[in-house]
């Protein structure tokens, strides 16, 4: 999907962790461009720096070097307050461990980002319906996470990521805690969001078959560096 402005650009981005005397280069000079509306998969072994890179793109963490430009805006130039706004409105995050708030119902979890976004309470109700409807969980609105299956919890997390209508969805191993059938359902949902609503999706996975089946592009990371990129034949 060609686009004038790329959704995500990283320029020699690094994130080094200092552990006493030694320095761990979790992300080490990554140059990456993800076009708007693209579905990209980030692959690599455990510890290769995938999550660290995702957190940098999400604005949850700041790089120790290089720059990250999202939709033309350099994240380094943002204050922490602006980064919070960026996380609120521009990106949505989905995690392997769902990260729902256990004391809140599905509706309340999905509503939470809108509290930070100061959306009016009338508007919130319709948007919760809309987002939960998209992930097919309307009958479960009043349930708490502990009453849901893993797949349903991840759907809730996706609805929460969508509710402030971000342009970019960042999913860090979204199927990692799910069985393969449920994982496939989640992947189908992500592809639908990408195809139907034109969302840019960056997904971390270490399951290559999944990436090959859903992503338009695969980026292989190793030791914090981009090893290779490939464009698999997208099978429907």
């Amino acid at each position: 999907m060609p686009s004038v402005q790329p959704a995500i650009e990283t320029h020699a981005v690094t994130r080094h962790y200092r552990m006493g005397r030694s320095v761990i280069p979790a992300v080490d000079g990554v140059d990456l461009t993800v076009g708007a509306g693209e579905f990209a998969a980030l692959l690599g072994q455990s510890g290769s720096g995938k999550s660290t890179l995702m957190n940098l793109i999400a604005g949850l963490d700041r790089p120790t070097g290089g720059s990250i430009v999202i939709l033309g805006t350099d994240l380094a130039k943002m204050s922490s307050e602006e980064l919070a706004r960026y996380r609120r409105f521009t990106v949505g995050m989905v995690f392997q461990s769902f990260n729902l708030i256990s004391t809140m119902t599905v509706a309340e979890n999905v509503e939470l980002p809108m509290r930070f976004a100061e959306v009016s309470s009338a508007e919130r109700k319709t948007r919760v319906q809309e987002a939960v409807g998209k992930v097919g969980l309307l009958p479960r609105l009043g349930h708490r996470p502990s009453e849901l299956s893993g797949g349903e919890q991840q759907r809730t997390a996706i609805a929460r990521a969508l509710v402030n209508r971000p342009q970019i969805l960042l999913a860090d191993e979204p199927t990692g805690n799910l069985d393969s059938r449920t994982g496939t359902e989640i992947m189908d949902l992500l592809r639908e969001l990408n195809a139907k609503f034109g969302m840019t999706v960056v997904m971390v996975t270490h399951e290559r078959p999944l990436a090959e089946r859903y992503a338009q592009r695969m980026i292989f990371l190793g030791d914090g560096k981009v090893l290779s990129e490939s464009r698999p034949e997208v099978t429907a």
């Binding site: 996380r87 609120r88 708030i101 939470l112 509290r115 930070f116 976004a117 100061e118």
Partner: protein, 477 residues
């Protein structure tokens, strides 16, 4: 984040760890309660003291005396070099001048004299003599608190030949035994009926002044004598008797003057008493010396309210008279209560300080427990300020709840102390009193204090929560 969402999220977080947060809140309540109990006790004691003193207008009265006649120790020290030429006579001119000072309600002499009273218990029966101190009581004293429980009525006028008696004397007149001091003994309807409207005969000495004789005036012109200027003819003492109707009974003695060392037991209107020209024990000297113009040993000045005492007192001093007011004496008392309140407040605050550590502890614990939740909130768009405010509001809500419960608890404790003290007082056959008083400012102040202390306690946990690194918080399970 909007205020509603903040409070909503904060209170749902508080509900989640209900037991712990309740215990913390109870801690704050106990702190606030001890503060409220201590300070309300202080306020109650102060109120009690000023009620006892100010019961009958002590606090809005000034006693004026001539510097010539009756110098207070202070004046003697202050005005050692005071020229006799500058001193004034406390006469009717002065009285009128004082009456013109702004905020002065009334100026009247403090009339007290001994007289024989005769009263027949049964109409037409044998009259029994009673020797007693009689005092003039101005009509404006009607407003005094003492008359809140007046039985019967007040004088019908300034010159009415009517008398009000003190309860104790009423019992003496009716020949009934004294009541126990613990009981606010009022006369029964029957006893009142036997007294009110009855006549009591007053026998006293009247001072009659004859016209001055110029020769005599010159003879007595002695520079050493401050009274030389007054002059006047010789005075003679004439025994008189006059009938008064008893119209009212009052429990305690209304304030008449500052020299109330001897307590009067029967009161007549001051205006009338003045016109009677009774010889007073305090002006024996005046009685013996010839005098034409009326001079006063002392005048009582009533001002609008106690705040006016100081300025009026100053104005009278400017006129060249000595003044004395209870405010002079009560300054020490005020200082005592300020210090007492301070100490009670410090002890009360101590408990609240300990409770505030409970808030710090609870919230720091909450951060550790809610690490992941804080990380999640940041990941989905909460700013540092949002997180900080959330914890801050949680502290504030605990403070507010603790404040409300604490005030209620403190109120109960104060009530209990009061009850206990009064049970003790009763067992000692003393009259019961309210030692305890919760003024509005204390309720509002305690609540505000509780919230403020809680917010201050929340400062550190809140900023720690805000600084929490979301990446670390979300790393693994």
């Amino acid at each position: 984040m909007k205020a509603y969402d903040l409070i909503d999220l904060a209170s749902r977080n508080l509900r989640e760890a209900f037991l712990r947060n309740s215990l913390t809140t109870v801690g704050i309540s106990v702190g606030v309660a001890s503060l409220v109990a201590m300070l309300s006790l202080g306020a109650g004691l102060q109120k009690l003291a000023s009620r006892q003193l100010g019961r009958s207008g002590l606090f809005d009265s000034i006693v004026v005396s001539s510097r010539l006649d009756w110098r207070s120790q202070d004046d003697r020290r202050e005005n050692r070099s005071f020229q006799s030429g500058e001193t004034k006579t406390l006469d009717d001119t002065a009285r009128a001048a004082i009456g013109k000072i702004p905020n002065v309600l009334d100026v009247y002499p403090d009339i007290r004299f001994n007289a024989e009273l005769r009263f027949a218990k049964v109409p037409g029966g044998q009259e029994r003599p009673h020797y007693n101190l009689i005092a003039g009581l101005p009509a404006m004293s009607r407003a005094s608190e003492v008359f809140d429980d007046l039985q019967g009525s007040f004088y019908s006028g300034d010159m009415a030949e009517e008398a009000i008696v003190v309860g104790e004397f009423a019992r003496e007149l009716l020949q009934i035994p004294d009541a126990k001091p613990s009981e606010k003994a009022k006369l029964t309807e029957d006893q009142l009926k036997a007294l009110l409207g009855k006549e009591i005969t007053l026998s006293y000495l009247e001072r009659q002044v004859q016209a001055p004789q110029p020769a005599q005036m010159e003879k007595s012109a002695d520079l050493d004598s401050p009274f030389s200027a007054l002059g006047g003819g010789p005075a003679s003492l004439v025994p008189r008797s006059r009938k008064f109707k008893i119209v009212g009974v009052v429990e305690s003695e209304p304030y008449g003057g500052m020299r109330a060392a001897s307590r009067a037991r029967l009161f007549i209107p001051t205006k009338l008493a003045e016109s009677m020209n009774v010889v007073q024990p305090t002006d024996l000297r005046t009685a013996l010396r010839p005098s034409q113009g009326k001079t006063y040993l002392t005048l009582v000045v009533r001002v609008k309210n106690s705040a006016q005492v100081k300025p009026v007192q100053e104005a009278i001093k400017q006129m060249g008279f000595s003044t004395y007011s209870i405010l002079d004496a009560s300054q020490g008392l005020t200082r005592f209560f300020t210090i007492l309140d301070l100490f009670l407040g410090i002890f009360g605050s101590l408990a609240l300080a300990v409770a505030s550590l409970g808030i710090v502890n609870t919230l720091v614990m909450a951060i550790l427990e809610r690490r992941r939740e804080i990380g999640i909130m940041k990941a989905i768009g909460a700013s540092d300020a949002d997180v900080k405010l959330l914890f801050f509001v949680e502290a504030g809500v605990m403070g507010a709840a603790g404040g409300v419960f604490g005030i209620a608890l403190g109120w109960l404790i104060g009530k209990a102390i009061n009850l206990g003290a009064n049970i003790y007082m009763r067992s000692q056959e003393l009259p019961t009193e309210n030692f305890w008083f919760v003024p509005w400012w204390l309720i509002a102040g305690a609540f505000a204090f509780s919230v403020i202390v809680s917010l201050i306690s929340g400062l550190y946990p809140a900023s720690r929560a805000a600084r929490l690194d979301p990446v670390q918080a979300l790393r693994h399970d």
